[in-house]
């Protein structure tokens, strides 16, 4: 990897460095608080590498959730990644073996960097993408290991730290609400899940909720698609 590529990629990733150290540490602390030490934090951050997915993972390990529930909830939390892939098809084309790693490491933050950042003149674009992804992943690993170590050393009361997951989703929702086209889908999602909670109960609420959401959104497609198109035509402020 050329030095010039590193010089180009590192500054781009600094915001993610700050972010991942912080959220990664929170993850390490949470994991420590349910009795899993630094090696577990390292393992999860190396092989899973998903912010909200790993927060969810802590909750699932804490209650000893059965594997099918682990699979289903992980799928739900990561569902948005399906959309990321669609817009990276072109960018990753021709990256050879590194493409597998690019796909594996396509987190929200890396997606955001890759969709906006450009490799400067004289730097190979694929090297640049790869290094951005690799740096982000290393920040995440460092943050979670640090959090687990600190958690073990400090041993403070971490009751309530799991609210980080709720806060994370709220923050994502605010962002989606502010950008165009999200209001009606978000309201449908919330309402369908409430109905499902009342009918199916807290344990089995997600699958019926998802089914209702997909059906409602599909039925509303003529209307919602019209909205999205109109919003896309107006230039963003």
């Amino acid at each position: 990897m050329k030095r010039r590529t590193l010089a180009a990629a590192f500054p781009v990733t600094v915001p993610v460095l700050m972010g991942y150290l912080a959220i990664g540490m929170a993850f390490g602390l949470m994991l420590q608080s349910i009795g899993y030490g630094v090696l577990w934090a390292l393992l999860m951050s190396v092989v899973i590498y998903a912010g909200s997915g790993q927060y969810l993972g802590v909750s699932l390990l804490a209650v000893g959730a059965p594997l099918h529930q682990v699979a289903f909830l992980t799928l739900m939390v990561n569902f948005r990644h399906l959309v990321y892939g669609l817009s990276m098809l072109e960018k990753f084309r021709g990256m050879g073996a590194r493409k597998l790693y690019m796909i594996f490491s396509l987190t929200d933050e890396t997606y955001a960097l890759l969709s906006s950042a450009r490799a400067p003149e004289g730097v190979d674009e694929h090297d640049f993408f790869f290094l951005v992804a690799l740096l982000d992943h290393s920040y995440w690993i460092a943050g979670s290991v640090l959090g687990a170590v600190l958690g073990a050393a400090l041993g403070f009361d971490t009751t309530g730290v799991d609210f980080a997951m709720t806060a994370l989703f709220l923050v994502i929702a605010v962002g989606q609400w502010k950008s165009a086209g999200g209001h009606i889908p978000a309201l449908i999602g919330g309402a369908a899940t409430l109905v499902s909670l009342l009918i199916a109960g807290a344990e089995d609420m997600l699958l019926p909720a998802l089914a209702m959401i997909v059906i409602a959104l599909t039925l509303l497609r003529p209307r919602l698609e019209g909205n999205v198109k109109r919003e896309e035509e107006t230039p963003c402020p």
Partner: protein, 111 residues
């Protein structure tokens, strides 16, 4: 820790596999230059906000209205997350501020 190490490894393997699958699926299905069906593209746009709303409700499913401590901390901390985010727009500040406040509320005020 209700799980044995082997069960934990199995859970982590499932999380890793499913996470990779969600990231890889578009490449598996649409990387040959075919255009994804319009319904897929449409759902790709409208599903994420609906699913995030679903997950918020899911996170808050344990809220109990029988005691003050069951609903006041999540309400205050949740509002804090939203308002901080509308004000500063910084993900980490919003998540951290709200979580720390929640921890103070459940450990100190409503313990």
């Amino acid at each position: 820790m209700p799980l044995t190490p082997i069960q934990t490894l199995a859970s982590i393997a499932v999380m890793a596999a499913v996470t990779f699958l969600t990231r890889a699926l578009p490449f598996l299905l649409f990387d040959r230059g075919d255009h994804p069906p319009k319904l897929v593209l449409y759902l790709g746009r409208v599903l994420p906000p609906a699913i995030i709303a679903m997950l918020i409700v899911y996170c808050l499913k344990g809220v109990a209205f029988t005691t003050l401590g069951g609903w006041v901390p999540p309400l205050i901390a949740g509002l804090t997350a939203v308002l901080l985010h509308l004000w500063k727009g910084n993900d980490l500040l919003s998540i951290f501020g709200a979580t720390v406040l929640y921890m103070i509320l459940v450990q100190g005020v409503f313990a």
